[in-house]
């Protein structure tokens, strides 16, 4: 996979190369492993200090999983674009004629893979720390929810990360831009996870409709990102 340099710089080929590159950067630098995952875990522990009751924790566990995910997304998006703007790599990619849509999809895929790892860890933390539990059927719903939600988060994160990339003061601006946009993901993913965990006796079947919201969000922002990313970078 890694040795095939695209003769015609196709979008898919570019996306694969960019995604592989981002994941290789992560494998060698281990920023996700050594910094972001421990950060997310400590957030989960802090929630327990703040809420201070097993019963409450069990009830709000799904929301906390996704809140911790959102906080981590902010850090991960910053990281994802710090890699690109550090040496002006993004500008060079563009002046080399690499299609912007390919860059967008590639970075989005790499972010999505990393987010899946993060969510898996956070669900594990909820099981251990907050007494969350789920059946096989709940597990299927959980995996589907996580896939759709991380796809949407990765799309929005890459889009807004690209918007703020290279600008002064982007670290403080990104949360302000990103958090209002991902509110639908927080709502949809939390409700779906509640039914997967059976929180408050909510049935698993009640979780599936929320998936629709997550899928609509993911599709809309993936398309918007693929279209808008080029104009955003070509300045």
């Amino acid at each position: 996979m890694s040795n095939s340099v695209p003769g015609s710089a196709g979008v898919i080929a570019t996306a694969r190369l960019i995604a592989a590159k981002d994941l290789r950067v992560e494998r060698r630098s281990r920023v996700l492993l050594n910094q972001v995952l421990p950060f997310a875990l400590i957030v989960m522990v802090m929630f327990a200090f703040a809420l201070d009751s097993d019963a409450v924790l069990e009830r709000v566990a799904p929301g906390l999983v996704w809140l911790a995910t959102l906080f981590s997304v902010l850090v991960m998006v910053s990281r994802s674009f710090a890699v690109e703007t550090g040496d002006g790599a993004l500008d060079q990619l563009r002046s080399a004629g690499v299609p912007a849509t390919g860059i967008f999809i590639g970075k989005m895929l790499a972010l999505m893979v990393q987010l899946m790892v993060l969510v898996a860890l956070l669900v594990g933390a909820a099981v251990v720390l907050y007494r969350a539990h789920f059946s096989w059927a709940g597990g299927v719903l959980l995996v589907t929810t996580a896939t759709a939600a991380t796809c949407g988060l990765a799309a929005v994160g890459t889009l807004y990360g690209g918007l703020a990339a290279g600008a002064k003061g982007r670290e403080t601006l990104l949360p302000l831009l990103l958090l209002p946009v991902v509110a639908p993901v927080l709502i949809g993913a939390t409700r779906a996870t509640e039914s997967a965990f059976g929180t408050n006796g909510i049935a698993i079947s009640e979780g599936w409709p929320w998936l629709g919201l997550l899928v609509v969000f993911a599709v809309l922002f993936s398309v918007a990102g693929a279209v808008a990313f080029g104009p955003l970078l070509d300045e």
């Binding site: 889009l159 918007l163 601006l173 639908p184 709502i187 949809g188 919201l213």
Partner: protein, 251 residues
């Protein structure tokens, strides 16, 4: 600096001056009607008077964001591309944030008196709050720096993304609400039977606020143009100064 005539450095024109006078008269009339002349409501009592600022404020805020969206499209569309559209978008968003702030504050005060609470998680209210925050972010992006074209392109794309975001937020809050909210607040749609004078005062409020919006956007747009001009001339001045220095050294 001397390159521009004094006319370039003022934001007022005979039209805006005339408009300003009309607005001042309108506001005076609105205050008299809203506070002293129009009757108190049967159910809401005196607190109904907040409505005369709240409803026009909310209407103007939404209008302002629509104008921002349309101007952004006009900027992005190659045939109509002009920095004037970008400045109108920016000026309109600023005024919109101001009016939305007024509308949120007056609304929550009214809510405290009438519903007994400053805030409810009603979909319309929550979406408005999101819109408010989104456009504060939009204004922050406008302040990021770079060339005027960079700013214009970036903020125009962001404004269009907001058009995508807001309906999604509204829809999802509505879904969330139907499950978690026992009873939604009795909508303002219930007081359809409005006194004629109240209706007229409200109508006058909307007209006066709209004129005020036009006045503010015109001035703000022109002062933004002056800002850009200052930016450009600052660079020009620096260039001439450096050239003069270089010539001084050469001599």
């Amino acid at each position: 600096m001397s390159k521009h005539s004094p006319r370039d450095r003022v934001t007022g024109t005979p039209f805006t001056r005339g408009l300003g006078v009309v607005i001042l008269a309108g506001i005076t009339l609105l205050i008299i009607l809203a506070i002293f002349v129009s009757p108190a409501d049967v159910n809401q009592g005196e607190s109904v008077r907040i409505m005369y600022a709240h409803v026009p404020g909310a209407w103007l805020a939404y209008l302002a964001f629509v104008v921002t969206g349309i101007s952004s499209v006009a900027y992005l569309w190659k045939r109509t591309r002009s920095l004037t559209w970008d400045r109108i978008a920016g000026a309109s968003a600023e005024v919109g944030v101001l009016f939305m702030g007024i509308s949120l504050v007056t609304g929550s005060l009214w809510g405290r008196i009438t519903w007994g609470t400053y805030w409810t998680w009603d979909a319309r209210l929550t979406t408005t709050a999101f819109l408010f925050v989104t456009y504060i972010g939009y204004l922050a992006v406008r302040g990021l720096g770079g060339t005027h074209q960079q700013r214009a392109r970036r903020s125009a794309v962001l404004a269009l993304l907001a058009v995508l975001e807001i309906p999604l937020v509204h829809f999802s809050v509505q879904l969330w609400n139907t499950l978690h909210q026992e009873a939604s607040v009795a909508g303002r749609g219930t007081d359809v039977e409005m006194d004629g004078l109240m209706l007229f005062t409200l109508f006058l409020g909307v007209v006066v606020f709209t004129l005020m919006y036009v006045w503010l956007v015109l001035h703000r747009q022109r002062s933004l143009a002056l800002d850009d001009m200052l930016d450009d001339s600052g660079l020009d001045n620096a260039l001439t100064a450096r050239r003069a220095e270089a010539q001084g050294v050469a001599r």
